[in-house]
Amino acid sequence: MIVKIIMLLLVLFLIVCALGAGFTKNLLVSIVIFMSYSLVMSIIWMFLSAPDLAITEAAVGAGVTSVLFFATLRRINAIDARDRKEEKHEPGKE
């Protein structure tokens, strides 16, 4: 019973993460949400007694894919542009 409740909570979290990753405007936030999606997914694989898939999901989904996404954002200057905008904001405030 308690396993069922935990599974239900995890699946609800998964759905919320999937919707959030799609609907956020900021790409960086979207990637972080996607990362948490992968972690929850690996826990669900553990509950479904598939530890092979859990290890792979945690290493590939949460680790390598997010690093590749970050590298891509860096490559297309999506992170840098955001930094510069906020830095420009700073001297105006002082």
């Binding site: 092979d52 390598v64 590749l68 490559r75």
Partner: protein, 319 residues
């Protein structure tokens, strides 16, 4: 040392090689003007034929606006496109949810998954392949052809990323100055402790693939993540001391070729009912299960190389 003829640079072969690698236009080769004249003639004829259809260049902005209003079918099409996309998504969702209602419950006895095939794998798997972790036996032995294809897909994906992102020799690297040196002192100190542990864990998962959960793909992914952590904390110059492009080529292509040979032998003996020369050993020992252990290690090396290659190509455009 091979002797290069003095007129090699001017020969058609050398020119063609340069043309293939995009360094030179293949224009002034002897027989090219003939073709070019023909092509130019055809192009002129084409232009003459389509002269009437060409819209004259617009100077007046009001005229421009009028033309835009006239040809605003594009705008209408775009709106229709959005509406149709939403409708299509909702329709597909509805069909899928409707179909889910007819699926058997999770783990129920009368679902079509519980047929004789999976039962036979679970009963005879340990005896036939000599593994205690039946998933690896299934992936590498019974469904060896799928894994073979997947590994080739990884190889092809790396090649595609290389074609897209690899820098030519005369291009500047994209890594900004100062970034190459790596992170701060806390990160490097901890990475010095953590990276060997990650590698050890990855290798454990890799080698114990036929005994406990894990196997080639999981262990390779963990090892690749360790390599990425090393190069992110110490910089690419330090990583290149033990993992540069030459070693990468040797490991990647060598492991793929060896894997192809081993799986070919496996498929040949399996299809013809010949007993393999590699003994299965006692199930549960580390040196057992025939060819599954070397195949696991080779797949893991392949996956680790792919992960690191993706990271390095995305970050600096070379390995």
């Amino acid at each position: 040392m091979s002797r290069v003829r003095s007129d090699y640079e001017k020969s058609f072969r050398a020119r063609f090689r340069r043309y293939i690698s995009g360094e030179e236009e293949l224009k002034d080769v002897d027989y090219m003007p003939l073709f070019e004249k023909q092509i130019a003639d055809e192009r002129a004829e084409d232009e003459k034929a389509t002269e009437h259809y060409l819209v004259p260049p617009i100077k007046d902005p009001q005229e421009d606006a009028r033309l835009y209003a006239e040809y605003s079918g594009i705008k209408w099409f775009r709106r229709l496109y959005q509406v149709m996309a939403v409708v299509l998504c909702v329709a597909i969702c509805g069909v899928l949810i409707y179909n889910i209602a007819f699926m058997p419950g999770f783990g129920s006895a009368d679902s079509p998954m519980n047929n004789g095939v999976s039962e036979r794998y679970l009963e005879k798997g340990e005896e036939e392949t000599g593994v205690t972790n039946i998933v690896t036996g299934l992936i590498i032995s019974y469904r060896g052809f799928d894994t073979f294809g997947e590994t080739h897909v990884l190889f092809i994906a790396t090649i595609a990323v290389m074609i897209l992102l690899k820098l030519r020799k005369d291009e500047k690297p994209v890594v900004a100055e100062g970034e190459e040196e790596g992170g701060d002192i806390i990160l490097t100190t901890i990475a010095r402790v953590l990276v060997p542990m990650i590698f050890l864990f990855g290798f454990y998962v890799l080698v114990n693939g036929h005994l406990s959960p894990g196997g080639g793909f999981s262990g390779g992914a963990v090892m690749g993540a360790g390599l990425i952590l090393y190069s992110a904390s110490f910089g690419f110059t330090k990583t290149a001391k033990f993992f540069n492009e030459k070693i990468y080529d040797i490991i990647k292509v060598g492991s793929l070729l060896l894997y192809s040979m081993l799986i070919g032998y496996n498929l040949f003996t399996g299809a013809n009912g010949i007993a393999s020369v590699v003994p299965l050993g006692r199930a549960g020992e580390i040196l057992s299960a025939g060819l599954i252990l070397p195949i696991n290690i080779l797949v893991g090396l392949e996956v680790a190389c792919t992960m690191y290659a993706f990271y390095a190509l995305f970050r600096k455009g070379a390995i």
